[in-house]
């Protein structure tokens, strides 16, 4: 059964149950007490009334039940309140650990990002998985455990009076809290999986409808536009209606079993507790006490409904494994001692089944040199940057910094290399904090000076919160060009001798692009730069241009020489400049 198989080799749920054991047990006991008080309230009220109806001579005889009635009446909501706080507290504590663990695991595996940067928002998925685990605890595990404990306690308590009746009630409760939930999960699992896949198809189709609406309108295919989603909507609807019908019938069945239980209690109390008045006074108490239990018992099946979602999350988290550190002995390289980078005849493929991406590529970059790397998209320009950084390892050849292999300087790599991407990542905090990430030692004044050097001073000081402006999710408060400048300021603080630029200006209009390139090459003039770019705007800033194609270096040289001697370069340059 998939339920047990999921947990067999799991390391994301089981170990955490043990953690903060005290808090967990407190939460469970409080949950149990809540149900107990609810039942006891009805028990003592029933007894109070029955006893009072016998007109006892002394009012003190019902004084204790009255007191207990009040106590349980207050106890139930109080325990419930504390239980909810405790269980949330426990779950949130575990969440902090889970998050730290997920972060550390991903941190250990640089290649994870390379493999996954194409498959959509894997990070969003993983962080959602953690919230699914929260719900697994709060909505499924806690209520289920409490109902199991209740079942056991109630059956034993009844068994003390009458062993066979205790066993019989145990069977009925077992049906309610264990068998029905399990059967309903196994029936619904397949249907849920189907609904999930149809839903994700629908998601794609609706996105097609909306993002492609221009084309739909021009094509005049309104009927097709609407029919695109129709069959999936119908399938989803049909399946969801089945699920709903199943849920309705299941809940009805659970109520039927409960009704049977009440009837059994009525018969049992009538048969065994009517021998004298003192016993008979407990009849209503016993029967009424079981009604509040339905609150704890019936919803267990519902709590299991989301199981397929939880299972997917657990499985996904369990597939991520920390990567053991295989680095050779690390050497120290002081930034001021950086001399050159030599790429010696490297060959690289992602895996043996994919085609060889980079073949026998060599290049030597001297301190202070500016190199531009061009070539059609998908040719492996970004891969070369990753190889230079040591995030990827070539199958053949070697990359050296001075005379050290790149893998020998990984631990303090940020002292040698800084990187500026196409979409630099900005954290959703203040501008000042974002730039300071480059070097946390720097004072406010130095951070502000960096912001000034990249040409953002006037803009920032015109904002209401100035340097403390929150940059928004992914830096959305600022335009693309401004985001690049913020990231550049960060790099200035980092002050590494080598700067890798990975198409930082793609998607910007040429005027913004020109201004940005001017700034880049101005503030980074004493750095070594390797610049991946997609066209020839600003090519006059570099010393050396390398054009790659799928099997070799197509042409290379200083841009001025190439322009004079190479016809193809000339054509490209003229096209780019519109000459």
């Amino acid at each position: 059964m998939n339920f047990f198989k999921t947990f067999k080799s799991d390391t994301w749920v089981k170990p955490y149950i043990k953690q903060y054991k005290g808090l967990l047990i407190t939460a469970l006991i409080l949950g149990l007490l809540t149900s107990f008080c609810a039942a006891a309230l009805m028990f003592t009220s029933g007894y109070t009334i029955d006893k009072a109806a016998t007109h006892p001579i002394n009012i003190l005889l019902i004084y204790i039940p009255i007191l207990l009635t009040r106590a349980f009446g207050i106890g139930r909501p109080v325990f419930k309140y504390i239980e909810r706080l405790k269980s949330h507290n426990w779950v949130l504590r575990v969440t902090s650990d889970l998050r730290t663990r997920l972060y550390k695991t991903l941190e250990s595996d640089a290649s994870f990002f390379n493999e996954h940067h194409k498959t959509g928002d894997i990070m969003g998925l993983l962080s959602e998985d953690i919230s699914h685990l929260q719900n697994l605890y709060l909505r499924t595990i806690f209520p289920a455990v409490i109902s199991y404990l209740l079942t056991i306690i109630a059956s034993i308590a009844l068994g003390v009076f009458n062993r066979s009746f205790g066993f019989f009630v145990f069977l009925l409760l077992f049906l309610e809290v264990f068998l029905v939930p399990l059967v309903s999960v196994s029936i619904e699992s397949a249907r849920r999986a189907y609904q999930k896949s149809v839903k994700s198809d629908l998601y794609v189709q609706l996105t097609d409808n909306i993002l492609g609406v221009d084309d739909w309108i021009i094509s005049g295919r309104k009927v097709d536009f609407k029919n695109l989603t129709a069959s999936n909507i119908q399938n989803l609807d049909r399946s969801q209606n089945k699920s709903k019908a199943f849920r309705r019938n299941r809940d009805f069945l659970l109520q039927l079993i409960f009704a049977a239980m009440v009837v059994c209690f009525l018969i049992f109390t009538n048969l065994t507790m009517t021998h004298n008045q003192e016993q008979a006074n407990f009849v209503a108490a016993v029967v009424l006490a079981i009604f509040p239990l339905s609150d704890a018992i019936i919803p267990v099946s519902q709590g299991f409904e989301e199981w397929p979602t939880y299972r997917d999350s657990i499985n996904r988290l369990n597939t991520i494994k920390p990567i053991p550190n295989n680095l050779p002995i690390q050497k120290e390289l002081k930034p001021q001692n950086f001399k050159d980078i030599s790429i010696e005849n490297i060959t690289f493929e992602y895996n043996s089944s994919s085609p060889i991406l980079i073949k026998n590529f060599s290049q030597k970059i001297q301190h202070g040199e500016k190199l531009a790397l061009l070539g059609p998209s998908g040719i492996g320009k970004t891969t070369i940057l990753q190889l230079i950084l040591g995030d990827l390892t070539p199958q053949q050849g070697q990359i050296k910094v001075n005379d050290l292999d790149i893998s020998q300087i990984q631990v303090n790599r940020e002292k040698i290399f800084s990187v500026l991407n196409q979409k630099p990542f900005l954290f959703n905090t203040t501008l000042l904090n974002n730039v300071r990430l480059g070097n946390e030692q720097k004072s406010d004044a130095e951070v502000k000076r960096a912001i000034d050097r990249v040409g953002l001073k006037d803009l920032v000081e015109s904002l209401p919160d100035q340097y403390n402006t929150i940059v928004g999710e992914n830096g959305s408060r600022f335009s693309g060009g401004e985001q690049e400048r913020i990231a550049l300021a960060r790099i200035l603080l980092q002050d590494a001798p080598v700067v890798l630029l990975d198409e930082p200006t793609v998607g910007l209009d040429p005027i913004t692009e020109n201004d940005l390139l001017e700034t880049f090459f101005d503030v980074l003039k004493d750095k070594t730069i390797i610049w991946v770019t997609h066209h020839l705007q600003g090519i006059n800033h570099v010393d050396h241009v390398v054009f790659m194609n799928s099997d070799k270096i197509e042409m290379e040289g200083s841009p001025k020489d190439l322009y004079k001697t190479n016809k193809h370069f000339q054509e490209l340059y003229q096209m780019d400049q519109g000459l």
């Binding site: 609810a38 309230l41 009072a52 109806a53 019902i62 309140y81 909810r84 949130l92 504590r93 902090s96 730290t100 972060y103 194409k118 990070m123 962080s127 953690i130 794609v204 189709q205 609706l206 492609g212 609406v213 084309d215 309108i217 021009i218 094509s219 005049g220 309104k222 609407k226 989603t229 709903k244 809940d251 009805f252 039927l256 009704a259 009440v262 009837v263 009525l266 018969i267 009517t274 009849v283 209503a284 029967v287 070539g375 059609p376 998209s377 940020e414 800084s418 929150i470 999710e473 040429p510 020109n514 997609h534 066209h535 006059n540 054009f547 340059y573 003229q574 096209m575 400049q577 519109g578």
Partner: protein, 577 residues
């Protein structure tokens, strides 16, 4: 509480009537369930034999079963209604997207619309359940029970009557307190709760900066801070549930005590006391059900609200139907006094004010300008995706006030900056404008666009899945597929291009130039670009600046003097080798 627009949905009134009837029935079976249970218990208490309780017991069980059967029917009706209504709404939403189209999408955001039509509608279903089932239960079941309790025991009736307004008062006060506390922390709170995702997405950056190892500690600290704050808010937020619980259980406890004292004083027999005690929890149940889900279903209310807002957007198009015509070398369009203003959320969009513009025959018209000058707005207006607030337009002599005309749009091929490929095969994508084209014709179009080699290199050829979830293909090939689409639709003689090569590398662009020039023949071309070499292919240029036409004319005319055109070219070119 209830959105009045709900009543306008088909079938709502009928549903309400049915539910009211059903709930009333349910109220009575709840009552009978309590009554016969009490009877059975009283008989047992009187130490009577099993025979005496069989009859009330059967009636109790029947009432109990009927109650849940009614509940089942009730749920079924509401769920059927909800799923039917959701479909109606979803279908209307799609119509709206098609009719009000791109302008609405830019106002509402793509994500919003997809979410509204998928997840939003699921939330709406929950909202229906709350409104229809739970609200109905709350307004019918307690009064019926209360009337019965009054007939049995007036004091209990009064106790139960008093508690309800108390409960509601407490819940409102505490609910407001929680709300204001949550509001005060909201901004900090969202940042904290998104911090983890932010850190995961920024992990590569942290790594580059050498901070990633140390940052793990930060993850824990922030997450723990989030826990602390959540707990602080939660303490108050769940107080309202606590108050409800506390007052209702205390109500039952007080009732039991009153009844006990009354019984001792011999004021009434056991039966009315017991039946009151049994019915008291049932009396509070609908209220508790309602408040438990109340916050969750508020989301549904908001979702429904935003869906209604979308549906109620005016479809501004005045539908003067442009009569069908053919675009040829003698056709012409005159645009006079065209004005357009965005009223959406996006402040960066540019408004337009065009006093005079003429498009004729198979002209090649370049639209240039720096970003934010209104190039895109202008060509999207001409494409009919945006409706001008005011304009005198004449297409081949026919007067219209906007370009959103079926008979104009079916002359167009539109190529945006990042083309949108549909999830489907390459074949389906190429034949998008002409779904009935033969394989022969499609192959010829693909050949003209230079796609042949690429498609032949794929193991599934034309049947290769692309678009979302399919094979990712490079930007250059995407544009070629769009070109093939245009080649195939040879009955469309107007090409509108919005910077189609802006994202491409120089060599890919170079390779694309030939098929594009071939496509230009026998077409009116309107081409927004900031890649300068295209200007050489144009025979007319419009220079946009701040939403107006700064200059227009042939490239030769414009480059002769130092006007907007020459200035722009100089700035775009930058320093040279």
């Amino acid at each position: 509480m209830i959105d009045k627009r709900l009543f306008r949905l088909p079938g709502t009134k009928k549903l309400l009537l049915m539910l009211a009837g059903l709930t009333l029935l349910q109220a009575f079976v709840v009552l009978f369930q309590g009554k016969y249970l009490a009877e059975a218990l009283v008989n047992s208490w009187e130490q009577k034999s099993l025979q005496t309780i069989i009859y009330p017991m059967i009636l109790f069980a029947s009432a109990f079963i009927l109650r849940h059967l009614f509940n089942l029917i009730n749920t079924k009706i509401v769920e059927n209604y909800a799923s039917k209504t959701s479909e109606t709404i979803r279908s209307k939403l799609l119509d709206k997207i098609y009719d009000a189209g791109p302008e609405m999408i830019s106002d509402e955001g793509t994500g919003n619309l997809v979410t509204a039509s998928l997840d939003g509608i699921d939330l709406v279903e929950n909202y229906f359940k709350l409104i229809f089932t739970k609200l109905m239960n709350m307004s019918i079941i307690p009064p019926v029970l209360l009337i019965y309790i009054y007939t049995q025991n007036i004091a209990s009736g009064i106790t139960l009557t008093i508690i309800v307004p108390l409960v509601i008062l407490f819940m409102i006060i505490l609910g407001l307190a929680a709300q204001s506390k949550a509001d005060a922390q909201y901004a900090q709170y969202t940042i904290l709760s998104n911090h983890f995702l932010d850190a995961l997405r920024g992990l590569p950056t942290l790594k580059m900066l050498g901070l990633s190892k140390r940052y793990a500690k930060n993850i824990y600290t922030v997450s723990d801070e989030y826990r602390r704050r959540t707990m602080n808010t939660l303490r108050i937020a769940i107080l309202s549930t606590f108050a409800l619980d506390w007052l209702t259980t205390l109500g039952i406890a007080i009732l039991a005590v009153f009844l006990g004292l009354g019984l001792i004083n011999n004021s009434f027999p056991l039966f009315p006391a017991l039946v009151t005690l049994i019915l008291a929890p049932e009396y509070f149940l609908p209220l508790r059900d309602f408040s438990n889900d109340y916050h969750a279903t508020l989301n549904g209310k908001n979702a429904l609200n935003s869906i209604f807002e979308i549906l109620e957007r005016p479809s501004a198009a005045k539908n003067e139907t442009l009569k069908d015509f053919a675009w040829d070398e003698n056709s012409k369009i005159d645009i006079n006094k065209l004005q357009f203003k965005y009223n959406g959320v996006n402040e960066d969009e540019v408004s337009l004010d065009i006093s005079k513009l003429k498009l004729t025959g198979y002209q090649k018209i370049g639209v240039i300008g720096k970003s934010g000058s209104g190039k895109t707005t202008l060509i999207r207006t001409i494409g009919g995706f945006l409706l001008p607030d005011q304009a005198d337009i004449s297409i081949n002599g026919q007067k219209v006030s906007n370009f959103k005309q079926q008979n104009w749009q079916n002359k167009l091929t539109f190529l945006p900056q990042s083309p949108y490929l549909f999830s489907g095969t390459i074949l389906e994508n190429i034949s998008f404008y002409r779904p009935n084209a033969t394989l022969e014709q499609i192959k010829k179009a693909a050949e003209s666009a230079g796609l042949e080699d690429f498609i032949n290199s794929l193991s599934k050829g034309y049947e290769t899945q692309i678009g979302e979830g399919g094979r990712g293909i490079s930007g250059g090939q995407q544009q070629r597929i769009m070109l093939a689409r245009a080649f195939l639709a040879d009955d469309r003689h107007v090409l509108i291009f919005d910077e189609p090569t802006a994202h491409l590398d120089i060599e890919t662009e170079y390779a694309l130039k030939k098929p594009m020039e071939k496509l230009f023949k026998n077409h009116l071309v309107i081409f927004a670009t900031h890649r300068l070499h295209w200007i050489k292919e144009m025979d007319y240029v419009i220079v946009m600046n701040d939403g107006i036409i700064a200059e227009q004319g042939t490239p030769e005319e414009l480059s002769e003097h130092n006007g907007a055109f020459s200035q722009l070219i100089k700035n775009m070119r930058g320093d040279q080798l």
